[in-house]
Symmetry: C2
Subunit: 344 residues, 2 copies
């Protein structure tokens, strides 16, 4: 079966093109308002209440490295990153299902540690764990999480709703999770070279937390509501700012312009990136896993948000022909490149 | 992390006890009517419409063997077995999400074959594929499917609703999927001994289909409605009749008595089991993967169903103290043993 005359390597497509290829002919028959192609699917019920569903699969050795990723943190992160997708629809997550496949190297105590993190996240975000599957695997740990949320139809925000000249806003700061990942990888190499070496993680709490224990922006949905702002489009920053900008722009059939100097980067992230000789802006653009919310607002809403400490206005939407641009700190205009995390 | 002083092997618990252990302290905070512990979770929306959610994880080498399981069939089966869980709640499935992790041994053409089966099942059962995740794995193929259905609150049937003296009914026939599995394993051994041998599968279409291309009992929900019967409890037969009887009995806090001679077994299943020197009844009790619906009805509903060709009345519920019994063909009363399929 694997020796067909014609064999196309999946790696030749990459994740996004593979998904496009596999889902391009889908027809929707039921009460589905939105299927594949946003942060979550949207299902409409009688009366206008919608169920919002998102799912993620996490594979040991691909998405996480248990040599430095504590199982409790992994459980916590597996939940929060899925909740992030529900918030990105301007909806409230209510339930999760958790399926795990695990090899015999995992003891019951290890699985309990994983679930401790899962339940901690459920507690903090007020989520019900309602189901799942538990099975054996031949190799390592695979997690599959589905998050289920609720929203009224008129409150849901899609990636595709932006209009030209609207303002691009991001919550929090970017690049920290990637810096934390680089730090952990560095210390792992040091440890492998010399198992007696003590890891040097002092002063780096912020970027470590961004990588090991990311939070979903539950607060942003409420803050925006209180400010009287409904975003016109929204996405969470899981693959890197550049990649998410591309999604918003292409699904809204627009161009986009970013201003490098406006991209929020924490000093710890900035300094550590400099120490490693990486451009901090690149951490923000291509690092991913920040789980901040990126959204567009109407110009008339700018005054409501411009001095809010949780938000940065980093660019604006343009017409389709203007393409994807970044104005550098020195004032030059570059083409924006999407180099999001790829799982293939 | 895997060298704790105290280490308990997961295999010492088994799947059901592991799930019980991990989920015993769950508190439900939101609009969840039923969490872990039935065929699907139930979420209530304003107005009484409920969302019903079930999820399954399938691991290569544990749940399926690609040396004889065609990818198209695997895709089809992965969907139908999840839909079966939604029907078992007396609900209608509407959406699925499909997540896959696959190693580099899989070509794009192989993945297309898998999705051909997935889409075929979606077509036949009128289901929307609304999302998922696609990623790489280090080893083999892992599938995670979530099925989402809808029902009115008052129509949903749980495992826990049976009462003493109610009649136990099963749709279709049992043991066929297990017989098909034994046939495929036998032919695989023959092939491994002599790669030039042609598989001898003639005359076995029925049990092969039961294993390779099981259907979910979409029709049963409608038939029962048309007959004016609402089952008092229901479960699908995925782990074997005995195991499912235990679930219905324990969740309804009852005993159960089965009549061996009433258990429906197809002649192909019967004859092939005899050929292998396996007790056909054991195939039905412990084989699993039949995806028939097992349910209880009130005595007053017996006349509506007793001559219906799709159903067999195979026993009744008793009080808790009477335990789990099977009356054999010779009239002896045995303790019923649950030897369902275990993934550990």
């Amino acid at each position: 079966m694997f020796e067909n005359a014609s064999r196309t390597e999946i790696s030749s497509l990459g994740e996004f093109r593979l998904i496009d290829h596999l889902t391009k002919n889908i027809t929707l028959r039921n009460n589905t308002l939105k299927g594949v192609g946003d942060d979550a699917a949207v299902i409409e019920h009688e009366g206008g209440t919608c169920t919002v569903v998102s799912t993620d699969m996490l594979v040991e050795g691909v998405h996480f490295d248990l040599s430095y990723f504590p199982l409790k943190h992994l459980g916590y992160k597996a939940i929060t990153v899925n909740l992030s997708d529900i918030y990105a629809m301007n909806a409230k997550p209510k339930q999760v299902t958790v399926s795990i496949a695990l090899s015999s190297k995992f003891s019951l105590e290890a699985v309990e540690e994983l679930y401790e993190g899962i339940y901690l996240a459920c507690d903090r975000y007020h989520i019900d764990l309602v189901g799942g599957d538990t099975t054996t695997s031949k190799h390592g740990l695979t997690l599959s999480i589905t998050a289920i949320g609720e929203a009224q139809k008129e409150d849901i925000v899609y990636r595709s709703g932006a209009k030209a000249n609207e303002i691009l806003v991001v919550s929090g700061d970017l690049g920290g999770a990637y810096a934390g990942y680089q730090l952990l990888e560095r210390e792992k190499r040091v440890y492998l070279d010399n198992p007696n070496a003590q890891p040097d993680l002092s002063g780096f709490d912020y970027i470590l937390e961004r990588q090991l224990k990311p939070e979903a922006r539950k607060d942003v949905v409420d803050i925006l509501k209180n400010l009287g702002i409904k975003p016109t489009s929204m996405i969470d920053v899981s693959d890197g700012l550049a990649s998410e900008c591309f999604h918003l722009a292409s699904q809204s059939a627009l161009g986009i312009t970013l201003y490098e100097e406006k991209i929020p980067i924490d000093p710890t992230t900035y300094n550590f990136a400099r120490e490693l000789d990486i451009d901090p802006t690149l951490c923000a653009l291509s690092g991913g896993e920040d789980y901040e919310l990126l959204f567009t607002i109407k110009q008339e809403d700018v005054s409501k948000i411009e001095f809010h400490p949780d938000f940065s206005m980093i660019g604006h939407m343009t017409d389709l022909a203007s393409g994807h641009k970044m104005v550098s700190k020195s004032g030059n205009v570059h083409d924006l490149k999407a180099q999001g995390w790829t799982a293939f």
